[in-house]
Point group: C2
Chain length 335, copies 2
């Protein structure tokens, strides 16, 4: 059903459509791409491709445009992600190089991604559970309440409130903090939870320890504040003329942390693409998402990616996302 030439035709149509945003016809196709056959032949191929759902016509007797299915085939079989050029790599490296702390790394990354892809960038903060705990701190703000701080090796700070028995002396609180700190330092989230369980078992009499430990465990386990940062929203305005209508739902979706987290999907250390209707969220069904996990090899910390129109340059976007993901992972692993 799909011989070589038909695939070439599909590839050419997508390339052309991505570049010019106009339905592409048989004649223009043979002129611009060296297909070495006549327009009539191409027409037959196009009709066949349309039959099978890879192409569609906006209206009778206009050119063809790719469907989501067409893009999918293109991404899966017709393209290879080219590595970035040396200057591009160097640009990424220097741009990230100046980062001071974790916030800075994330915000630089999101700006960088948005800029080099001209799309909307999304970066998830590294997940605490795969990093190592550096420090725990309990700060008494009120007689009956304390602030719990947790610092990880990636520089990330999470916090929670702890209710305390009112009459607890400050010294006891401090002692509890010290004990917990000693117990979990340099452990991963999973190890820390185990260590804390033991700690509580060994000191059942203590009144301060349990509430604090519970709070720490909750922070470690649920990791409820997994944050997502968005950048380059202004690029939505450039998604295309046909986008002016569908713009509001897209902007709306980008405001919802939950939607974004779902969008990035489960983390994997390679580039994944979700095209048009493959996205669950209705507001984003005329967009595509290109995402990638980042972290160390075999240890994914979080995901980053971009959102753009389905009519996007997939090879170059995928290359950019992959490159940025690798650099960020490497950068965080070092510092």
């Amino acid at each position: 059903m799909l011989d070589e030439r038909k695939l070439a035709v599909l590839r050419a149509i997508i390339t052309d459509y991505v570049e010019n945003s106009e339905p592409v016809g048989s004649k223009a196709l043979v002129e611009r791409y060296r297909l070495d056959v006549s327009p009539a032949t191409i027409r037959n191929d196009m009709a066949s491709l349309e039959e099978e759902g890879y192409l569609t016509q906006p209206h009778t007797s206009a050119g063809r445009i790719p469907t989501d299915k067409g893009y999918r085939l293109f991404v899966d079989r017709l393209t290879t992600v080219k590595p970035l050029s040396l200057p591009e790599k160097r640009a990424i490296s220097t741009f990230l190089g100046g980062a001071a702390d974790l916030d800075d790394v994330v915000s630089r990354t999101v700006r960088l991604l948005a800029q080099i892809t001209s799309q909307v960038a999304i970066v998830q903060y590294p997940i605490v559970s795969t990093a190592v705990i550096r420090h725990i701190d309990v700060i008494r703000l009120h007689p009956d309440r304390a602030l719990l701080l947790l610092v990880t090796s990636t520089g990330r700070i999470t916090q929670a409130h702890v209710e305390l028995p009112v009459e607890t002396p400050d010294a006891d609180v401090e002692a509890a903090a010290v004990r917990i700190g000693a117990a979990v330092r340099n452990l991963t989230s999973a190890q820390a939870v185990r260590a804390l369980n033991e700690l509580v078992r060994d000191s059942a009499s203590d009144t301060v320890l349990p509430p604090v430990v519970n709070a720490v465990t909750a922070l470690l386990a649920a990791d409820p504040t997994t944050r997502v940062v968005v950048g380059g929203v202004q690029n939505v305005a450039r998604f295309g003329d046909d986008f002016h209508a569908a713009m509001e739902p897209v902007l709306e979706a980008l405001e919802e942390q939950v939607v974004l987290l779902r969008l990035l999907g489960e983390a994997r250390n390679d580039v994944t693409v979700r095209i048009g209707h493959e996205n669950e969220h209705v507001g984003l069904q005329s967009t595509s998402v290109v995402a990638s996990g980042y972290g160390m090899p075999d240890d994914v910390w979080a995901t980053l990616g971009v959102v753009g129109p389905t009519r996007m340059n997939y090879p170059s976007t995928m290359a950019s996302v992959r490159a940025v993901a690798r650099y960020v992972g490497r950068f965080l692993a070092e510092g």
Copy 2:
């Protein structure tokens, strides 16, 4: 030059234009608003108002629309900010009531503001310098580097890195942290800086104290991380049909923290309005900004506000911004 009736005409035109987004003519005006004169009379007044720069015509023989100057007069002299209704007040109160920590308060506020005004909301984090220091912490991440944490009474956490002499024992670092903490606890930023100066003077021999103190002072003084949060960006899509062109620069401006901070302006505890070209930023000259400081009476912590089209409902927007600012201030003062 501006008798009562002309002002009434201007008010009617703005009211009508805000509602219908269409240039308004003399006939429609006398029909919809009880002006008790003939269209011809209104025409004379309109011509005069145009002469003086309060109105303009999109093209000859269309109706008139207000200029920035017209809106300015309207805001300054033709409107009074009405207090919100009881249900509205209650809605604000319950929406903010459930907030857990500072981040939560800010994010709820920005969502609330965006929703009730249908515009883009901007909320600045409370400035550290007017709050009181609750806790200071120094966490050694590397032999030559430590993380400095600063927690204020509003629950805000700021951080910085400190370079340390490599051979410093952990105990010294801890001791320095304790001394500094004791010196500045429950002081405002300004008081703390003074206290730290004394501390350094009294212990000139110490090698650890100075770098840490310097870092703390820098955090307190420069307050470089004054953050701004934006929400309701999807509302830009509703600013109006004529906005599709000017949309990208607006979105771009909303991404720049610096621009936003400038936009909110110096904090004052009442509502200020900046209309169209009164904004410095070129991308925002077809928008208006309604902002207000918030905090305790006579003690402004930060600013919040909304960005919308110049053709907005000023009285209701101003009322909403004022109400939210007051509630947030009160809420933070209590908790």
